[in-house]
């Protein structure tokens, strides 16, 4: 864990390109990708994931237009954006899908009345 990651951050999912943490103190999911840490509410996280999921990567792959080489993702409620190439979008999808898998598992455990995931386990 690098030094700017707070102690309250719990690891949700990690790839060699990025990490998703959850902070139970602030109820935020933290997307750590492309050298930036972006805290997102559950709603903004799912909206952002939808954006990343629905971008037409086939068009990006087949097109020769300069405008199709990158896709711009504006982060909800933040004056920041990611400008990503096709390859980076695929990395981001892998990261977000992995994170959702962990979050859903945590949800299922809670529904069953089992103890939820934690860093201590």
């Amino acid at each position: 864990m690098d030094s700017n990651v707070l102690a309250s951050y719990q690891l949700v999912f990690q790839t060699d390109k990025g990490t998703v943490y959850q902070c139970d103190r602030t109820n935020r999911l933290i997307l750590s990708f492309w050298g930036t840490n972006t805290p997102l509410s559950a709603r903004d996280f799912s909206q952002f994931r939808r954006m990343v999921q629905t971008v037409n990567i086939h068009q990006m792959a087949l097109s020769t237009e300069a405008a199709d080489e990158v896709e711009i993702f504006t982060l909800p409620r933040l004056d920041r954006c990611y400008v990503l190439t096709l390859c980076e979008i695929l990395h981001l999808r892998e990261l977000l899908n992995g994170a959702v898998f962990t979050l859903e598992l945590n949800s299922i455990l809670r529904e069953c009345g089992c103890s939820t995931l934690s860093n201590q386990d």
Binding site: A42, R43, L103, S107, T116
Partner: protein
Amino acid sequence: MKDLERLRTLIKEPVELVLNQQIQMELISSSKYLAMAGWCDRNGYDNSAGFFYKQSEEERNHAMKLFHYLCDQGATAYTPEVPAVTQEFDSLRAVFETVLEQEIAVTDSINRIIGVCRREGDYATEELLKWYVKEQVEEEYIARRCLELIDQIPADQVYYLDTKLASVTYDKNPFENE
């Protein structure tokens, strides 16, 4: 680890998805009925036109009920795309045949959503959808009854047919006043 998604909303993603699709379907129904109202109006079926104007409003209300439910419960409702619908029909019978087909498609869709609710253990949304199940029993009944009337009433009694069609109701819906 807190379940942030559950804290945000009662509605799970697969249910949110199918409810948004249903909103679109209801608004497409609304648009189809408005086109039918226009066709009836142009062709002198004043009473049937009135019936379809009202029906178009009702379908919009069906969509809005789901739209508000999603918003109220912390999920996201999306304003859907409504594609172009048929504006011209061969006959009044063709209009009502389209109605019955559309209502059957809606009933099937509601049933599928209830299947999703059960799979996801979402009993609240299932409860809400019971209203739609009841509504569809009524809508299918009315469409079938109208087609019967078209068959029963001689073709030259246009005014009588138009009046009868617009007055069809389902008074003895067994699901009402349980």
